[in-house]
Symmetry: C2
Subunit: 302 residues, 2 copies
C-alpha cells in the first residue's frame, strides 16, 4: 500500500532533497512540497523546475501541519534544524534525514527532544535514513526523479521509533525505486566507515602527501589512469568530509588502525621480498574486487 | 626524420607489444615484424589480425639480422629473454623494453652482458622504456595502433647507452604518437612508486582487508561508487603487481613509510576532533586533484 501525504517539508533542496521531491511527485505521492533553505537562488530554481511547490523560510509556518519533514542539508546543519523545529512540531509529523552518518544524528535528536512540546512523539516520529546515491554534480539543477532507482537506502530505527514511522518512511523510499534495508545507527556507521569513509580519507591522504612535495608537479605529470581512479574521491567536498570524519570519528579511527596494520604487513612482505606472500594478498583482493564488480553489475549501478 | 627498420622482433605480442607493432605498421616504419611468445594461440591471432608478419620461437633465428628487439612480456620474463638473446645478438641490434620498472631491468642488462659476444655493443645498444598506457583489456585482441597517441613514454638511457640507440627508439615512439621524456631509471622508479605503485598496493590492501572479515559480504553489499573507483586497480593482475613490488621494492617501501606518516597525522586529527586540520588536509588534496584533472583533460586522456 502506497503512502500518500498532504504536505512534505524539505530542508535543503539540493541533489538529494530535490530528487526525493521529484520522485515522490512522479509517483503521485504528495500534494504539497515545501522547501526550506539558505540559498534563495537555489530555492527559486527549485520552484521554476517544479521540484517544490512553495518556499517558506519561517520554520514555524513551514512545518505547520506537515506530514513529513525530510532533512537533506549538510550534516552540520542537522542539529540546528532539529532544535529549531522541535518546539513547533505536531505530534503527528514524521521526521527523517539523509545524512551519511547516523549515530550522531540520533544523539542530536535526543538533545533536540528537550525542546519538543511532546518529547515522546518527537522521539517516536523520528527515523534516520541514508540513501546510498549521489552524483558528481550537486544542487537542485542536478536533481532527478530516478536518482534512487535500484539504489540502497538504509533506515536506522532506534528503540523509540514507532512502527508507523518506519512504515511510512520505508514506503516513501520504496516509491522512489530504492531498496530499503533496516539496521541500527551504530551498525550503519561501522559499515560505512569501512567501505566509504576510509577509502575517501585514504584518497585525500595520498593526494595531499604528493601535493606537499617539492617535486609534486613532476609527479602529477606522470600520474595516469590508475591514479585518476584511485583519487577521484579526493576531489570531493572538504567540508562534507570534515563533518563525516568528526561525526563518525570513533568507527573511522578503528578502521584506520586496522588499515595501518594491513600496511605494516605489506611493508613486511616488501622488505622481505616475499613474492608468494604479496601474490596471495593481491590475489585475495583481485578476486574479491572482481566478484564484487560482477555482482554489482547485475543488481544495481550506483 | 623518421626511422624505418627492416626487421623488428617483439617478445610478448600482447596489448603493448601488439599495439606497438600496429602503430609502426600504420606509420609505415617496418618491413617485417616477427613475434616471439609462449602462447601459440595468441601468436596465431596476432598473425591473423595482421599485427605481426611471422612467428619464430627459435630465438637465434628470430633475432637474426634484427634492427630492433622490443621486449613487452611480463617483467619477470625479461632477464631470461636478455640472457637468451645476448649470445646471438649482432653488434647493431638495438634492444628496448616496456616494463613498468626500470632500475631492475638495467641490472638484468648488466648481468646478461656477460653472455654477449660483444659486451660493449650490447650495453650501448640497450635503452629501457616505459609507455604510460594501458587498458583494462589485455592480449593481442585488444591491441590498437592508437594506444600510445598522446600518452607519455619514458626512456631511461644510462651512461652506456649510445646516442644512436636513444635517437632510434625515441623516433619510433614518437611515430606512435607518444610524447617521449628521458630520465634516469632510478628517477623513473621513484616517480612511479609514488603515483602508480603505491596507489595500487593501497587499493589491494583495502579490498584484502575487507575481504578477510567475517562480515565481508555485508560490507561489500553496501559499497558504492566511491569504493568502486578507489578499488578499480585492485582488480589488476596479482602476478604483475607482485613482480613490480619485488622489482621496485626499495622506492615503494619508502613511499609506504611516507604514506603511513600521513595516516598517523590523519589518526591524530580524527582522535583530536580537529575539524580545521581535517578540512585543511582535505582542501589541499581536493584542490590539487581537481587542478590535476583539469590539466590532464586538456593535454592527454590516459
Amino acid at each position: 500500500m502506497k503512502q500518500s501525504l498532504k504536505k512534505i517539508v524539505i530542508f535543503g533542496v539540493g541533489l538529494i532533497g530535490g530528487s526525493f521531491a521529484l520522485a515522490l511527485k512522479s509517483a503521485g505521492l504528495s500534494s504539497l512540497i515545501v522547501g526550506v533553505g539558505r540559498n534563495n537562488d537555489n530555492l527559486r530554481s527549485a520552484i521554476n523546475l517544479g521540484v517544490i511547490d512553495e518556499v517558506q523560510n519561517d520554520i514555524e509556518k513551514a512545518i505547520h501541519e506537515a506530514d513529513l519533514i525530510f532533512i537533506a542539508t549538510p550534516v552540520a546543519q542537522t542539529p540546528l534544524i532539529l532544535n529549531a523545529i522541535a518546539p513547533h512540531l505536531s505530534s503527528k509529523t514524521i521526521v527523517t534525514d539523509a545524512g551519511s552518518t547516523k549515530s550522531d544524528i540520533q544523539n542530536y535528536v535526543i538533545t533536540a527532544s528537550d525542546y519538543a512540546r511532546d518529547k515522546k512523539s518527537f522521539l517516536s516520529n523520528f527515523i534516520g535514513g541514508h540513501p546510498i546515491a549521489g552524483s558528481e554534480k550537486s544542487g537542485v539543477n542536478a536533481a532527478n526523479p530516478d536518482l534512487f532507482k535500484g539504489k540502497n537506502v538504509i533506515l536506522t530505527p532506534n528503540s523509540d521509533t514507532s512502527d508507523e514511522t518506519l512504515r511510512v518512511v520505508k514506503s516513501l523510499w520504496e516509491a522512489t525505486g530504492a531498496a530499503v534495508t533496516e539496521m541500527s545507527a551504530q551498525k550503519h556507521d561501522q559499515i560505512f566507515a569501512a567501505v566509504s569513509h576510509l577509502p575517501h580519507i585514504l584518497s585525500f591522504a595520498l593526494v595531499a602527501n604528493i601535493a606537499s612535495r617539492s617535486n609534486s608537479s613532476e609527479l602529477f605529470d606522470f600520474a595516469a589512469s590508475g591514479f585518476r581512479d584511485f583519487t577521484r574521491i579526493a576531489g570531493s567536498s572538504p567540508e562534507m568530509w570534515r563533518d563525516i570524519c568528526l561525526a563518525n570519528g570513533k568507527a573511522l579511527y578503528q578502521e584506520l588502525e586496522s588499515y595501518k596494520s594491513s600496511l605494516e604487513e605489506l611493508s613486511r612482505l616488501i622488505s622481505n621480498k616475499d613474492g608468494s606472500g604479496l601474490e596471495a594478498l593481491f590475489s585475495n583482493a583481485s578476486i574479491a574486487r572482481n566478484q564484487w564488480n560482477e555482482k554489482k553489475k547485475t543488481t544495481q549501478d550506483d
